[in-house]
Amino acid sequence: MSLYQVQKLIYQLNRDPRQRERYAAERDAVLAEYELSDEERRALVAPDIGLLYVLGVNGQLLMHFAALHKIEWTDYLERMRQGLKQHGQVREGVYAATGYEGVESHDARLKKEREAR
């Protein structure tokens, strides 16, 4: 597993505009600078947000990698859900999914509680 290397690449892309430019212009050369498994390289290139999530990429890195690819918030969340369906539970790290009713249902419940007060 080279999750550390995947996260390092994403961290450097998030932080450094020049690395982003390089990644856009010569992606393979940038990727070659990190020790990545084939699965990780494929997930980054696609980009397969769902698989990156399941591999254990920290959400605070992954959400910006998604934004870099112009993936909107709701779509980002949906891609992670699809990733769980396709690849199973998160394999590493502290960003595992634990189950949630969803924002709409949660909002409706809170609204009822507010009205009852």
Binding site: N14, R15, L77, Y95
Partner: protein, 274 residues
Amino acid sequence: MPLVYCGACSHAPGITARAERADTQTRQALQGALQRMGDDIRATRPDAMIVVAAEHFANFFMNNMPAFAIGMADSYEGPIEDEAFLRIKRTTVPGNKALSRKLIERVMQTVDVAYAEEWKFDHGISVPLHFLTPDYDLPIIPANINCQGPPLTPLKRAWAFGEALRAAADALPERIALVATGGISHWPATPDSGKINEKWDREFLARWAANDREALLSYSDAEIYRDGGQGGFEIRTFIAAAAAAKGAKGKIEFCEPVPIFAVSCTVARMQLAA
């Protein structure tokens, strides 16, 4: 001067990034509470404000992760996030290198803190400042506790850091304010984003307001992860603020769960002796 202000607030990126998707009344109430917090801070006429944040890999990564860090520069750039995503314009925020250095030298007497002459703000600092000091006219001294990359800074050390910041601020002639930022329970940037354990949050804030050291430090990381999610690890910043209040009690000015913002949005203040 003794610390002039000590408080805590949320920093969730959704507060700005997804503002219009929250219930209008709740959003306005939150923004009002944050703006009042800014007014309260200004009323104490601070020379600088320490922001104890929970960084999200804007500056520190698992190649060299400090348990604690304090910025030591005359200016900082932020937010690092995509401006269109966070909806906060990237800007340069004033710091105070000389004052940072004096604080760091004192903090180091009891806590091994890393210093950083470069520091990019992420939402952990930029979202609070957007409301608290929208003109960016108050020098900021960023501080960080590792709440993100395990092994994490132990809670009792977060307390020690708060005590050290207080002792350092008290020993200097400048008027220093301190604001901690973070979420209580949350599962941010996961498919569960929006999940909030409101009961756990209110219990934590009750302990914080009572400034009950033993109760604040009694959580294990396994319990926090179970009940408060990985975002709950950020209670470290609140704990540091409680320690910096040196026994003062707190008041929860605002606390409402807002799922689309992914946290119980919170504004709280320690009632320091005048």
